[in-house]
């Protein structure tokens, strides 16, 4: 699986993202600078990594969402290509309109950096098929603005369509309905605040994030 890890000024989990993709999704993972107009030929997965693009100025992810490469990322998503946004990447996805809702300041204003438990709510997606429904996994979070918000109609639609794929067991940031990760209507775009790419080796404290990459690999093979 060929992965493009997009780098914005201020991305700081780009190395983790590339490492996880190289480790679990085979060769072909590479960085792509945000000023590029297009994605590398044959890109299967676009990985929008965590970090603090543009120093979180204006709003988290707002300026990155309007950078040149995002036109190509949108076109990739419209073609049904896979897009994974983690932490700041999730903020970029909501700011660019690829996923609904918004991420606002954590309920208690603290930057939170610790492992949390997530419940896998939907295993019928390309990102979660290697998990079992209701499985609880341990994955770290590291964010100050991860409080998921959307208007009540949007939240009802997400819940009704099974688009909430990960939910916090102990909601750390005030997110509506304990939402930790959602997929797009077509299921090919996933945004989540926790970092699965930081939980892919026992050395890192948890291997529970591997399931997400194993799912993607399986999805591509069966395509």
């Amino acid at each position: 699986m060929k992965t493009a890890v997009i780098q914005f000024p201020g991305s700081n989990c780009d190395g983790d993202a590339l490492h996880a993709a190289q480790l679990l999704l085979d060769q072909g993972a590479q960085f792509v600078w945000h000023t590029e107009a297009g994605l590398p030929q044959g890109t299967d997965l676009v990985f929008l990594p965590g970090g603090f693009s543009y120093g979180d100025h204006l709003r988290s992810g707002a300026i990155a969402a309007r950078s040149p490469i995002m036109q190509a990322v949108k076109a990739h998503a419209e073609r049904g290509g896979y897009v994974l946004g983690v932490c700041n990447g999730f903020q970029v996805l909501t700011e660019s309109g690829l996923l609904p809702g918004a991420l606002s300041r954590n309920r208690d204003l603290h930057f939170l950096c610790r492992p949390v438990h997530l419940r896998v709510e939907n295993t019928g997606t390309a990102f979660t098929s290697a998990y079992t429904k209701g499985q609880v996994i341990e994955v770290p979070i590291a964010h100050g603005e991860g409080n998921y918000y959307a208007d009540p109609e949007t939240v009802a639609r997400l819940e009704g369509e099974g688009q909430v794929v990960f939910r916090y067991v102990d909601n750390p940031n005030g997110s509506l309905n304990d939402i930790a990760g959602i997929v797009s209507e077509r299921g090919n775009v996933l945004g989540m605040m926790p970092h699965p790419e930081r939980a892919v080796e026992a050395l890192l404290g948890s291997e529970d994030g591997r399931g997400l990459f194993d799912s993607l690999k399986g999805a591509l093979v069966s395509r």
């Binding site: 204006l58 707002a62 309007r66 609904p100 918004a102 606002s104 954590n106 208690d108 918000y149």
Partner: protein
């Protein structure tokens, strides 16, 4: 062609929890200003634009709604005034 100065005010929607505002409100209460409520913390953005008034107003509305604020969680309003010649600043 004229030059206009715009002020854009962005605040979280009333339905969105504003933890920053609540923290300030609590601090004021501890400082014996218990009669102060409804504190909301927002952003203030200044811009200068040049063009005709109609063009600039349309552009400002677009910038405000598409970049400077996120309509999912924020409300925004703006004020605009024409700059009269060179601005003189005294010391």
């Amino acid at each position: 062609m004229s030059t206009f100065k715009a002020k854009v005010f962005v605040t979280l929607k009333p339905s969105i929890l504003d933890p920053q505002g609540r923290t300030v409100e609590r601090a004021l209460s501890h400082l014996d200003h218990g009669n102060v409520g409804g504190v909301r913390v927002g952003k203030y953005i200044e811009l200068t634009l040049s063009g005709s008034r109609a063009e600039v107003e349309a552009q400002l509305k677009d910038i405000t709604e598409s970049v400077l604020s996120n309509p999912v969680m924020e409300d925004a309003r703006w004020e605009i005034s024409e700059q009269q010649g060179e601005e003189r600043v005294g010391a």
